[in-house]
């Protein structure tokens, strides 16, 4: 219990720190909204200072931060100038799409990395392992941007996959099965781009972790007892190797989240990425702050889940706490 509390406190600290950081970036940036007005000779300096006072821009930074964080906690993330609407509903729709994409990519890349890595470790240095290692090395040196653009090029030329957006225009008129099919087709490319970039690192770590465990005496003993191969690998080796992998799980969420930003822009997936880029280009600062904060929230929650998984799977953590 104490472990969990400590992790939650740590997560809260990270979110709090991120909010200070984004606020600082925003406030310390050169120039504010009223600088442009100051150039206009028809507006009296008194008017501008009155406006500044009205929006409380003349207050000291900590005070402004407190007021801002107060409204954020109440769920008011500010107002988007270019969309002419509050930020929260805008972010909400996009965040859902990003979350969906990242979730599918995370599950799929781990679902692939585990069997591939285990197999690779089993045949360490021999045939399937050498092939897998080479493939992963090749994937590792192809940057995300090249990969995403390459996949898009492939889709555009072959015409097998729809490019851009999440669903087709006539989505609402389709039957449930066709809806699902449409969504899957639209998701294939972005998910593929994300999975292929994440995979090499994951496979390498799974392989290393399992290979370490396979050498352990208890594995030899288990093999001596004639426990079948599959059961040996997945019921004995994998749990023993799970510890570093679970930490990696938290990290991989962050990497996939960052990766999804780029992939979303390239593939036209209507997530946080394109929204954020548009917001930056149109200087829609509240939207930017909201987007950065929300992505941090995702990541911190992901890490928290990894921590809790660790707590759940590793009895040593229970034991440590009980001993204290």
């Amino acid at each position: 219990m104490r472990f969990m509390l400590r992790r939650v406190a740590h997560a809260a600290f990270l979110i709090f720190g991120a909010s200070i950081l984004t606020f600082l970036f925003a406030s310390l940036a050169p120039g504010d909204y009223f600088d442009e007005m100051r150039l206009n000779t028809q507006i009296a300096p008194e008017t501008i200072s009155a406006l500044r006072a009205r929006y409380q821009l003349d207050r000291p930074l900590p005070l402004r931060y407190l007021r801002w964080i107060d409204s954020v906690i109440q769920g008011d993330l500010g107002y988007s100038f270019s969309y002419n609407s509050p930020v929260r509903p805008l972010l909400w729709v996009r965040a859902r799409n990003t979350f969906f994409l990242t979730l599918v990519a995370t599950l799929l890349s781990w679902g692939l990395a585990l069997p591939i890595g285990v197999r690779s470790a089993e045949y360490l240095g021999r045939f399937p392992d050498s092939l897998i290692s080479w493939t992963m090395a090749a994937l590792l040196v192809i940057p995300e941007l090249s990969l995403a653009l390459g996949l898009l090029l492939f889709a555009a030329r072959s015409g097998w996959f729809p490019t851009g957006e999440m669903v087709s225009v006539d989505f609402s008129s389709l039957s449930l099965v066709h809806k699902l099919q449409d969504l899957v087709l639209h998701m294939t490319l972005p998910v593929l781009a994300l999975v292929l970039t994440a995979l090499p690192l994951l496979v390498r770590h799974v392989r290393a972790a399992i290979a370490d465990v396979l050498d352990a005496p208890f594995m030899l003993a288990a093999r001596g007892h004639g426990i079948p191969r599959h059961r040996l690998l997945y019921r004995y080796a994998l749990p023993a190797a799970a510890n570093p992998l679970i930490s990696l799980f938290g990290f991989s969420i962050g990497a996939l989240l960052s990766g999804s930003l780029l992939v979303e822009v390239v593939m036209g997936w209507p997530g946080l990425g394109p929204l954020l880029v548009e917001a930056i280009l149109s200087r829609d600062l509240y939207l930017v702050i909201g987007g950065v904060l929300l992505s941090t929230l995702f990541l911190v929650i992901g890490n928290l889940i990894a921590d809790l998984l660790l707590y759940w799977t590793d009895p040593r953590i229970h034991a440590d706490l009980v001993a204290k």
Binding site: F13, L14, G17, A18, L21, T22, F25, A26, L28, A29, P30, G31, A137, L140, V141, I142, P143, E144, L145, S146, L149, G150, L152, L153, A156, R157, T163, G164, G254, L257, S258, G259, L261, L262, V265, V266, L276, V277, A279, I280, L281, R283, L285, V288, I289, G291, V292, S295, T296, F298, L299, V300, N303
Partner: protein, 341 residues
């Protein structure tokens, strides 16, 4: 010994690749900004060695393109006007390595222009732009990595050496930076800086932004090294002789961090090249007309370009050998640093 040879091999490959990009002016036949309005989106030209009569020519030649009747971007080879390549020819002036005024090009033509990998929408030579664009992208990566390592070294050394509350504060801060998704952080930081600036300012701006984002990981690694080194006997002996902190750090402790710094550099440079490309690709980095790998690829955001002009994809391929070499170098470095594994 074997590790050392591996290391040397990768270093040579890396040197050659960087040399080609650094001497872009020599390898590029044209100035990257030079437009040819007669040839927008010309596809790559074919070099020939045998002509229509089947005669063999030692000097490679090409048939210049003529726009096909009634189209804007369809070209036919003009078989009547075979034009040979001229090697080591004096053409447009450039500065070698940005310093030495020079006119020599690896190859050039007289009269008709040759586009070995096609042109963009303004008829600018894609080969020249990719080479020059590499200069911008690689320089951004190298400078950004330099800035990151500088801050990482300073912060890591301070945290590890002084310990106490400084260590606590700096490490909490680094955890924060590690926790933020770095691309979002990068964009967030970029968002609050001016958008409409000159290409040079934009370049410096993004180099600084990229360099500032990634200090946390090297700082933590360097802190670890400093923590272990500062308790070693030779450091304690020097301290016993009354060596001041600055001397101890510079003379005894920081040299021990060099292998961590090197491995981190080989990891950071490709990552930062990619960061520059990402920013420029999104329109937040180096602006046109200056070429960088990122803003060259930005053309592909137009669907029609993506579908019809595959040679615009070239910069995405150009960086793969660089990534390969940097990854090879970093693993060779790691093996070299821990020989008995």
């Amino acid at each position: 010994m074997n590790e050392r040879r591996q290391l040397a091999k990768w270093l040579i490959v890396l040197g050659v690749l960087h040399g080609v990009i650094a001497c872009a002016g020599f390898f590029a036949p044209y100035d990257p900004l030079e437009q040819d309005r007669e040839h927008p989106y010309a596809p790559p030209m074919k070099l020939h060695l045998t002509d229509m009569q089947g005669h063999f020519h030692l000097r490679p030649f090409f048939y210049p393109f003529r726009v096909r009747e009634g189209s804007v971007d369809q070209y036919d080879e003009d078989i009547a006007r075979a034009t040979p390549l001229i090697f080591f020819a004096d053409r447009s002036a450039y500065r070698l390595l940005g310093l030495v005024p020079c006119r020599l090009h690896l190859f050039a033509t007289s009269g008709e222009r040759v586009f070995l990998v096609g042109t963009d929408g303004f008829g600018r030579d894609q080969l020249s732009r990719t080479l020059y664009g590499g200069q911008v992208s690689l320089l951004a990566g190298l400078l950004g990595a330099g800035i990151t390592l500088f801050f990482g070294l300073g912060i890591g050394a301070a945290a590890g050496y002084y310990g106490g509350w400084r260590d606590e504060v700096l490490m909490r801060l680094s955890e924060l930076f590690l926790a933020l998704p770095w691309l979002y952080l990068l964009l967030g930081l970029r968002a609050f800086l001016p958008l409409a600036v000159s290409p040079l300012e934009a370049f410096l701006l993004i180099v600084i932004v990229i360099g500032m984002v990634g200090w946390a990981r090297p700082a933590r690694l360097i802190r670890g090294v400093v923590l272990s080194v500062k308790e070693r006997d030779f450091v304690r002996a020097a301290r016993g002789f009354g060596a001041p902190d600055g001397y101890l750090l510079l003379r005894h402790i920081l040299p021990e961090t060099s292998s961590v710094l090197l491995t981190q550099a080989t990891i950071l440079v490709p990552q930062y090249v990619l960061a520059e490309m990402t920013l420029s690709f999104l329109g937040l980095g180096v602006p046109q007309p200056l070429a960088s790998w990122g803003n060259l690829l930005a053309n592909l955001q137009q669907y029609s370009v993506l579908v019809s002009y595959w040679w615009m994809y070239l910069p995405a391929v150009a960086m793969v050998p660089f990534f390969l070499t940097y990854f090879g170098l970093s693993s060779a470095l790691q093996e070299w640093a821990t020989p008995h594994k």
